[in-house]
């Protein structure tokens, strides 16, 4: 039903605009000046407040508290799983320490002391956003003193530590220099563990390969060169820089590669290594299961309440608030649940139901296969983006927001495909492409407002 007040009322409408000290907001340290528009029609009055943020749209502390309560309730109901993923990614899975006594321990006591005293620093960049539980658990199981991660990316972190760069790759790779700088100069780690991850754990099935992006794989080598170019900054600070090539698609090979890098250095026996590795793989599995359980719960809720959720079609490192520029938070602030690709459930029954048509026609043999729409699926994170787009296209209460960094060579070839997949089913789809170190806060806000408008209409017209 229309809320239009009628032409007679419009003719009688009067308004007054106020903007000055009396309209200044005091709910935060910015003290912004707002615009109050007081409308009056046939004795009834209404005030509209034009303010740069949501807090400014109310006048009293009670109103503010009510607003925040409402927002918090909404966030609890429809959370941002990107934040939850980050919490799960970087927390400890409390493994059992596997170091044993015996002759080997005696012979390697010096190396093992170094291991026990080691503070292992892992840059919170790139593949850490898919593999951190593995890295942390492995070293904790080996009994190191502590595993620390660098901070999330921020302008300050980048400014402080990225001066050594001599090339201009994508921002997610470029910023790695700053993270390693923080680890060695501020977090004072004794070991930097920054592996060249060549392949990722297999998720997409019947794929041509499971490669990590070549820019990502080679970044640890570029970082090493930058810190040892004129003088060896690692040696000066007594830091051991470990960047072995690792293949997560093949656990047997991974075990050998990791043991070769860590075993002899810290006097770890093969058995101890294998026990630590087992726990590390277990932690990675637990992380994914927990996150996907949350994803499944959320999907149920969205369906039940006829609400639309937003799937973030992005690479895992776009979980970094310094790289995603707060876009998931902005969307979540407006009451929409946000799900990263990793949070989409992999429950067999659900997937078989979603992809039944393709499975029945024989176009795919598994619901986690995408060869029918993207035969060149060898880049695992690209393949997962395509798969997630297809997932969204099957679920009416989901929409998609694609994030992509400037110069992303593996995103470029799938832009068109993702658009086609989503457009074919009329799912709401928005893009934030070519993200880099600059945070265009204003334009992000505007675009999220547009997104909000479309999603509201989608909920009203399609879901209800």
């Amino acid at each position: 039903m229309s809320s239009f007040i009628g032409f007679d009322a419009v003719d009688a409408l009067t308004y007054e605009t106020k903007r000055g000290e009396e309209t200044r907001c005091s709910f935060c340290s910015n003290y912004c000046v707002r615009t109050f528009i007081d409308l009056s029609v046939k004795g009834s009055k209404k005030r509209f407040i034009v303010a740069p943020c949501e807090k400014g749209t109310v006048e009293t502390k009670e109103e503010l508290r009510a607003l925040l309560r409402k927002k918090s309730r909404l966030k609890d109901e429809f959370p941002n799983l990107v934040r939850e993923a980050n919490e799960l990614l970087f927390s400890s899975y409390r493994p059992e320490v596997v170091l044993q006594g015996g002759l080997s321990a005696l012979l390697n006591r010096k190396k093992r002391r170094t291991l026990r005293e080691a503070v292992v620093g892992v840059p919170r960049v790139l593949n850490a956003y898919s593999l951190a539980p593995f890295f942390r658990t492995y070293f904790e199981a080996l009994g190191v003193k502590k595993v620390v991660f660098s901070s999330y990316t921020s302008e300050e972190l980048y400014r402080k530590g990225a001066k050594r760069g001599s090339i201009d790759p994508c921002y997610p790779s470029k910023v790695a220099l700053a993270h390693v700088h923080e680890l060695i100069y501020e977090k004072r780690v004794s070991v930097v563990f920054f592996p060249c991850v060549r392949t990722l754990p297999k998720e997409v099935e019947n794929a041509e390969g499971h490669w990590a992006c070549p820019t990502v794989t080679a970044t640890p080598e570029v970082v090493k060169a930058a810190f040892t170019k004129e003088r060896d900054e690692f040696a000066e600070r007594g830091v051991k820089y470990l960047n072995p090539v690792l293949d997560f698609e093949d656990e047997e090979l991974l075990s050998r590669q990791l043991f070769k890098a860590v075993g002899p250095l810290f006097g770890v026996t093969r058995k101890e290594h294998e026990l630590a590795l087992k726990q590390a793989l277990g932690a990675l599995k637990t992380y994914k299961e927990k996150l996907r359980r949350r994803g499944a719960e959320l999907l149920e809720k969205l369906k039940r309440e006829k609400r639309v959720g937003v799937v973030l079609l992005a690479r895992p490192y776009h979980n970094d608030p310094g790289l995603n520029h707060g876009i998931p938070d902005e969307i979540n602030d407006r009451g929409y649940a946000v799900l990263p690709v990793d949070a989409l459930p992999r429950d067999e029954a659900l997937l078989n139901e979603l992809f039944k048509e393709e499975l029945k026609s024989g176009r795919i043999k598994s619901p986690l296969e995408i060869t029918d729409v993207w035969p060149k699926c060898y880049s695992e994170n690209s393949s997962l983006k395509v798969w997630a787009a297809r997932f969204v296209s099957k679920v009416p209460y989901l929409s998609a927001v694609e994030l992509s960094s400037f110069r992303c060579g593996h995103d470029a070839p799938i832009y068109g495909l993702i658009e086609e997949l989503l457009a074919s089913t009329g799912r709401p789809f928005f893009t934030f492409h070519e993200l880099d170190e600059n945070r265009p806060a204003g334009s992000i806000k505007l675009r999220v407002e547009t997104l909000d408008y479309f999603l509201k209409r989608y909920e009203e017209e399609v879901l209800r």
């Binding site: 790759p169 820019t215 090539v245 093949d250 470029a412 070839p413």
Partner: protein, 452 residues
Amino acid sequence: MKVLFGGLTQAHETLISAAVKPLGYEALPLPTPDNEALRIGKEFCNKGQCNPTYYTVGNLLKFLFKKREEGLEVEREFVFVTAGSCGPCRFGMYEAEYRRALKEAGFPDFKVVTFEQARALTDEQEGPLRFDRRFFLSVIKAVFLGDLINDLYYKVKPYELKEGATDLWKERALGLLAEALERGSSVLKALRRVKRELSAVRVNYFTPKPKVKITGEFFAQTTEGDGNYRLAAWLIEEGAEPVVEPVATWIDYLVFVRQLSVKERAFKDRLKAVKELLALKAFGLYLRSLYELYRRALGGKPDPLKSQKKLARYAEPYYDPRIAGGEGHMEVGKHVYAVKHKLAHLVVSVKPFGCMPSTQSDGVQAKVVEDLKGSLFVSVETTGDAEANAKSRVLMKLYEAKELAREEYERAKRELNLTDRRIEEASKRLARADLSLPRRYAATAANALLLV
């Protein structure tokens, strides 16, 4: 149906066309990609691609548009063949980009046929066209011959006394070799004739010029067109001697990385790994021997193929050879090789805008330069525009390289106790272009002094 292909140099493409003719293929090389091809590529491809995608896809479309205007039914008349890969860089995704752009440009039924480059060396691949061992060996032969002709051309052209003489020789040489490949007659005999023809070209090898090694991403370093601002030809105009990379190095690299991969996974089935390694080694040996045989037939003047083991050893402290994608560790390895083996005074690494592996390997080159005291290295990104910017960067380094070449020449003169008069007299006697020069110094002129 004519088979379209491209992406290499004119020499390679002429010889490949001839080599596959006896196998029943009518192969037609596409023209060298230019900036018009880049523009068309940008119009029909996804945004954000690396520029070899735009150049090569645009080049095919440009050709098809032209043929359509001429009234040909291009979807019936032609099929396009290209190499493909299974990652990790986006080169493997070109195939999808070709198909997408062809559809967008109004050729939805145009056939693109790919063969997997890494498997091409050992496995037969069936498809709309048959890629069997005979096919690949014929192509490899043609590629090697093209490499050797290019090598000689760039060794001679900067020193020719009569402008254009080397170009005429190259044309004749390609004609002779193409004829031999087409007829199935002796390639060695043809090569010896090519060498004899080269002796007719007159040169002055006693002019000190800097040698400039061109490395970088495969397309950018290989193309002879706008894709690298016609770098090799421009370097000659600027008074330098370009050293181009043979495509054979890439083929050799594919065999080498396959060996690395087998070795890494050998623990799973040692017997199978040994068998595969032996087969790969035998194949590698065959390839290198073939290249060496042809090289010797040309009097040993072209450079021998670089040892892949050496390239990997040189690169390893900076860039792990197991990191795949693009040229992998080779860009770093070639830089170190060029300095250690006095192959060049200056190394120019060319990469297209948006090339992921090449940008990263450039990231370690600053340390390589620092460690190899005295190395002159410049990396340029080719975007299609910004030609003046890229060339001015090279020119700055080229100035230093010219100084180095001159100093080296003067030093050689002193070491060999030679006067200008003796050199001038010798230069008349030693003016045959086919002369094989010793390899003690980097500069051709300094090495020529060893013959005085």
